[in-house]
Symmetry: C2
DNA sequence: ACAGGGGCTGACCGATCGGTCAACTAGCGT
DNA sequence: ACGCTAGTTGACCGATCGGTCAGCCCCTGT
């Protein structure tokens, strides 16, 4: 038969499964999502998921590794502490990263600690810890740490879960341009060590 | 035999189970936590958990209902929009609430959307939505919504998960006094509509 | 002394989990 | 026409899940 009624003409099953799995993992939670659900929603058999990814953990790894790689590369570009570089440019790139990988970020931020034994998640946590150390260097007052945590988790959360609470949609492209600008302002305000009143 | 080697002399099993379940739900996730784990960690049989709470969902409800009630009562005290009341006093009470119920807050914020069908969680989400509407009233620019989301989720996250990322402990009483002051400053800065540069 | 009942438990249940395996299908080089 | 291989599937597995149930222990009222 000619593949006519098929939703995707002949797209890679791997890619389709990755999209479905990532969204399901991020929204419903990794442990609350079964391979059967992912397979059903993508229109394949459960066996096929395990054929492509070996295991449920392999599927999670495949769904996150690219985003973790990008984050590691982004952290490498963090401006050195010595130079009084305006961190706004870095913040903009960071926010762009959040928008590009919102599902992966929400997954790691929300479920990271319960998935710490998964290698890719552990790698992600290590990268985040490195970023935290670079932002609030060795002085690391509690206020500094709090500002970093509030900024990271708050930004990640509002990109997905916050919209559902406030009744918004979850799809991109809604008011992302305006949201991006506003989020850059908020994060720059939270992270910039210079423009702070320093109580 | 005299109850000598017993860890707790004759404390209510209900209360012990609630403590263990709440921590396990918040840290590992609701779906990733089995009744067997909770029972084992508390030193009881799994049947006893179901005897006291009827079901796993009943256990979650019992673990969260008090915190949700307190949050609803707190939101009721939110100062009216008309009066130009300094919101700092409310923020202080809000931060105190976060510290008092940190595990419950983290559970709801992190797993709320995947537990939306549970009545107590749905009630909690409704209360949070009400607070959001009161803070950023009908004008509700995207920037306002983002500030609220960043503040709530960021504060909740840093109270538990953020500490683990930065290598801190999870127990209270560490530097809570300093953290409380710093968090009040950050939230007041994020939520106060007056003291904002209004770019 | 003796019923009675709340607290608690182990044995057990059906359902579902992640994972394995043999078999089937389609395309492709020869 | 012939294998060969990659992609896909349903049947099946042991383990574990949340939940039920009969019964045991022990305290208490009478």
């Amino acid at each position: 038969m000619p593949s006519d009624t098929d939703a995707a003409p002949r797209a890679q099953a791997r890619a389709e499964l990755l999209v479905v799995a990532l969204e399901q993992f991020a929204v419903d939670g990794y442990h609350a999502t079964s391979l059967q659900q992912i397979a059903d929603r993508a229109g394949y058999a459960k066996s096929n998921v395990l054929y492509h990814f070996g295991s449920k953990e392999g599927l999670l790894n495949a769904a996150l590794s690219a985003a973790v790689d990008d984050l590691a590369a982004l952290v490498d570009t963090f401006p050195r502490r010595g130079a009084g570089v305006d961190p706004r440019e870095f913040v903009e790139r960071f926010v762009d990263y959040l928008f590009a990988h919102r599902l992966e970020v929400v997954l790691i931020v929300n479920q990271g600690q319960s998935l710490a034994d998964v290698p890719v998640v552990d790698r992600a946590m290590a990268v985040i810890a490195r970023l935290a150390l670079e932002i609030c260097s060795e002085d690391a007052s509690i206020a500094e740490q709090l500002r970093f945590g509030v900024a990271l988790a708050g930004a990640a959360y509002t990109l997905v879960a916050g919209r559902t609470i406030l009744g918004g949609t979850l799809e991109p492209e809604d008011g992302d341009a305006e949201a991006r600008t506003a989020l850059v302002d908020i994060l720059a305000e939270l992270l910039a060590p210079a423009a702070r009143p320093l109580g």
